[in-house]
């Protein structure tokens, strides 16, 4: 067990050495990974903050319950008490029919005309402010239909246009962020697998010799896997630095803006577990890309290792010998040009 671990540590150190021997392409690859991981992360933070801002600044959602005309003040009061006891409600206010009429008179200017009515045509109104936790559109819709079915309630109405729009926009942005993340993950895969491909071609002769002396694909693969994971690791580290730098740049203008609105809004940064997740994603992508790249190239470089099959040999072998010759020519060309 100890020698096994020791061997892995040796391979890891060897991979670091190998990466540092080609600093140009390593830095390039780490940089590209850093940027591609930072972009969706920043978008994610933007959404988190947008949600925070939205929740902090939106005017508050109300459900208006219009009671039946026949409901008297006493029954209205007991209904109000019942609603207040529910966990979904934060606050319940009553606007009596008389007060409603009073307000209407003042606001509408129909004062004298309304005096002529034989009785008050307006219902008693209960205004429910739901708890924050129940502000999701689906949740609100459920409350509305539930309250609407209570005895004595004529109609339950939600002014939720704003809420709905906000949430739909957020959902859309989240979907877009997801698509973007997948695309950028693909970019990371391609970047790493290309660096690994170059590393494999550089070490072609060495791989061939290792194979000739009984090295398994797994053995050959190991340093490349480490190399891929290291690139992912350093890429994720670069991404975290980029994100922290971006947030630092944005922090003071956002504070000024918040001050202008008299708000105590605090920008949400990258939390520790999110940073760790980013590192894990980086390492995972690096591992996946290098595995994919090594498998592909090992099989392509040494096709003759497969048991002979006449159909395969007929169709592909010509192409592979041709490829081989072209590569050989190119290499000897290079040597001559040096």
């Amino acid at each position: 067990m100890r020698t096994y671990l020791l061997r892995h540590v040796q391979v890891l150190i060897a991979s670091v050495g190998q990466l540092s021997r080609t600093p140009g392409s390593t830095l390039m690859s780490v940089g590209v990974i850093g940027i591609t991981l930072a972009l969706p992360s920043l978008l994610y933070l933007l959404l988190v903050n947008a949600e925070k801002v939205g929740n902090a600044w939106h005017p508050g959602t109300h459900i208006s319950l219009f009671l039946d005309l026949g409901v008297d003040a006493e029954r209205a009061q007991s209904l109000l008490e019942r609603l207040r006891r529910r966990e979904e409600t934060q606050q319940v206010r009553m606007i009596s029919a008389d007060r409603a009429l009073q307000e209407f008179k003042e606001l509408s200017g129909f004062g004298e005309a309304l005096d002529a009515l034989p009785h008050n045509p307006l219902p008693t109104l209960l205004v429910v402010t739901p708890e924050r936790a129940f502000e999701h559109p689906d949740e609100l819709q459920r409350l509305v239909s539930e309250f609407g079915a209570l005895p004595g309630v004529e109609l339950a109405q939600l002014d939720m246009e704003w809420v709905q729009r906000f949430h739909v926009t957020l959902r859309l942005a989240r979907r877009a962020a997801l698509v973007l993340s997948v695309l950028l993950a693909l970019a990371v895969l391609l970047t790493v697998s290309n660096t690994i491909r170059l590393a494999i071609l550089n070490r072609r002769d060495e791989i061939e010799i290792i194979q000739l002396f009984g090295g398994t694909d797994r053995f050959i693969q190991r340093p490349f896997l480490y190399s891929g994971m290291l690139q992912g690791f350093f890429g994720a580290g670069t991404a975290i630095l980029l994100i922290v730098a971006c947030l630092q740049v944005l922090r003071s203008p956002i504070r000024q803006l918040a001050d202008l609105y008299g708000s105590v809004f605090q920008i949400a940064g990258l939390r520790v577990h999110e940073a760790l997740a980013l590192v894990a994603i980086g390492i995972g992508l690096g591992w996946l890309a290098s595995r994919w790249s090594v498998r592909r190239h090992l099989h392509r470089m040494f096709p003759s290792a497969e048991p002979y099959s006449p159909t395969k040999a007929g169709t592909f072998a010509h192409i592979s010998t041709l490829r081989h010759r072209v590569l050989k020519l190119r290499r000897s060309d290079k040597r001559r040009n040096r």
Partner: protein, 222 residues
């Protein structure tokens, strides 16, 4: 140790390098594989080490039927066969020690055992003092001996060499052949491709002769 039955090898370009070859090399035997340049000697050795696959017939090496061996099993098979190449195939960015240690490293041999066996192999070929050097600083004969040490460091029961003395002068060449002879006396099965008849007369071993891909004579069967 090696049994060929009606083996042919046709390269993808259509060239038939070996035609219906049948012979048997018993355990602990030593044989020279001779023939003009292009006769198919290297091809035959490449079939035995599975660098190439035969296109017809059956090859059994060390009780393994090579025609049925899958890619995954090849590395483990190769650890049983020591191979020496004419162009050495050494890693020039590794020391002599690391080059010789390679077969042990890929087989996962422990650190202490590895050092012991590498030094033993280097001792056998007379390079014990040069383990820290890089191959490029060695002479052609010394490089070839590094290759030989690497081939035998695993103590394989079978050793194959493809023109191991091709670029060496007569004296060095004799030394190298004597090394192989010595391995054979320790019980290792040895097959050496060469076009130098001199060694055959000197050592008096079995001769397997190829001509244009055909077997001319398989020599003495014991």
């Amino acid at each position: 140790m090696i049994r060929f039955s009606q083996v042919s090898k046709r390269y993808p370009n259509g060239h038939e390098a070996l035609k219906r070859i049948s012979f048997t090399l018993e355990r602990e035997q030593m044989a020279f594989l001779v023939g003009h340049s292009g006769a198919g000697k290297s091809t035959l050795l490449r079939l035995v080490t599975l660098i190439e696959r035969s296109t017809h017939g059956q090859i059994v090496v060390n009780n393994k039927n090579l025609t049925k061996l899958r890619r995954r099993q090849i590395p483990f098979f190769r650890r049983q066969v020591g191979v020496i190449f004419q162009d050495h195939k050494l890693l020039h960015d590794r020391t002599v020690f690391d080059n010789v240690a390679l077969p042990l490293v890929v087989a996962g041999v422990g650190h202490r055992e590895l050092g012991r066996r590498v030094r033993a192999a280097l001792d056998k070929v007379g390079l014990l003092g040069k383990e820290r050097l890089y191959p490029i600083t060695l002479s052609g004969g010394e490089q070839q001996r590094v290759g030989i040490a690497r081939a035998v460091v695993n103590r394989p029961p079978l050793v194959l060499a493809d023109e191991p003395t091709g670029n060496l002068d007569a004296e060095l060449s004799d030394e190298i052949m004597d090394l192989f002879h010595q391995f054979n006396q320790y019980g290792v099965t040895v097959m050496i491709a060469t076009h130098e008849r001199r060694h055959i007369q000197r050592l008096g071993k079995r001769v397997i002769e190829l001509k244009n891909g055909e077997l001319m004579s398989a020599g003495d069967q014991n």
